[in-house]
């Protein structure tokens, strides 16, 4: 229930940000909408810790900043490769076991890998991650990475 209320509030804020018009009618509509969306979400059973990861805490925002830096760095690398006349790639696959304990954590981890140019996650589950890298270095860099640690820390809400 608490989660539903949280969702409701988030959605209402979302509405208000979108709307920008604060007439009584539209605010009322916003409340109605948020209520409806929450109800609908519950009906579809998407209101749970996976869908509304409030447990992650503030650290996730810091992680995003860090991730942005990582993305920028690897973007430059990939751009250089694309522009290099010889196309110096060494595509590789690596398998490893990530340290996250929840599906949500694994998802954040996998998506972060994919978001970073030069690497992409193909499979991810409790047992194993399968990652494709544009270069061998990039791919191997995913094993026991700083990213892995970051996500695990966020996951535990620390």
């Amino acid at each position: 229930m608490l989660r539903a209320i949280g969702l409701f509030i988030v959605l209402l804020v979302f509405w208000l940000l979108l709307s920008g018009l604060y007439t009584p009618f539209l605010i009322g509509a916003g409340v109605g909408t948020a209520l409806f969306a929450t109800w609908f979400g519950r009906r579809l059973s998407v209101v749970d810790p996976e869908g509304q990861p409030f447990q992650l805490g503030w650290r996730i925002f810091v992680y995003w900043l860090w991730l942005a830096g990582e993305v920028a760095k690897s973007s430059l690398t990939v751009a250089r490769i694309v522009l290099h006349p010889k196309l110096p790639i060494s595509p590789s696959l690596v398998r490893f076991k990530a340290s996250q304990s929840t599906d949500l954590g694994r998802v954040i981890h996998a998506n972060s890998i994919t978001l970073t140019p030069g690497t992409l996650s193909i499979h991810c589950n409790a047992e194993e991650f399968l990652v494709h890298g544009l270069t061998r270095e990039g791919a191997e860099g995913c094993v026991n990475s700083a990213m892995d640690r970051w996500v695990s820390r966020c996951e535990q809400g620390r």
Partner: protein
């Protein structure tokens, strides 16, 4: 695809926002035409997204096909009904001015209902088409 965790988590995350976004477009559409269509599409997309990830049967349970059909029909009825209402009030077809004492307000009200009708219909039609497809594919497999 339910046990593809990435898709599952992303879907759970996105769906409520999709619904709000749909209704945002709907409610802000009366400052300009067209909101209803987008709203309907997005609303339908939310359900389609759900069905893609959690399966057609689950989607059908929560949003039954009969409801979808009623939505299609009801939307058109709302849309055309507004026009008829203006006819009954003695104006031209879709003459919103007559829907309220204040013409501007009347127009707002008229457009609002028309857009609502559009949204409901569009959502219904999109879902109907989706169900039809998904169903066909299923028959195909057997």
């Amino acid at each position: 695809m339910r046990e593809d965790l990435i898709l599952r988590v992303v879907a759970k995350l996105l769906i409520p926002f999709l619904v709000v976004f749909a209704l945002y477009v709907q409610f802000h559409g009366d400052f300009g035409p067209g909101g209803g269509f987008q709203a309907g599409t997005i609303l339908a997309a939310a359900v389609v997204f759900y069905a893609l990830i959690f399966g057609l049967d689950a989607a059908r349970r929560q949003v039954p096909e009969r409801l979808v059909e009623v939505m299609m029909a009801a939307g058109v009825l709302i849309f055309a009904g507004v026009g008829v209402a203006s006819l009954l009030l003695g104006g031209q077809y879709l003459d919103y001015d007559l829907l309220s004492h204040d013409p501007i307000h009347g127009q707002h009200r008229g457009i609002f209902w028309v857009e609502l009708g559009v949204a409901v219909t569009v959502a219904g039609v999109m879902l109907k088409i989706f169900y039809m497809f998904a169903d066909r594919g299923r028959l195909d497999e057997e």
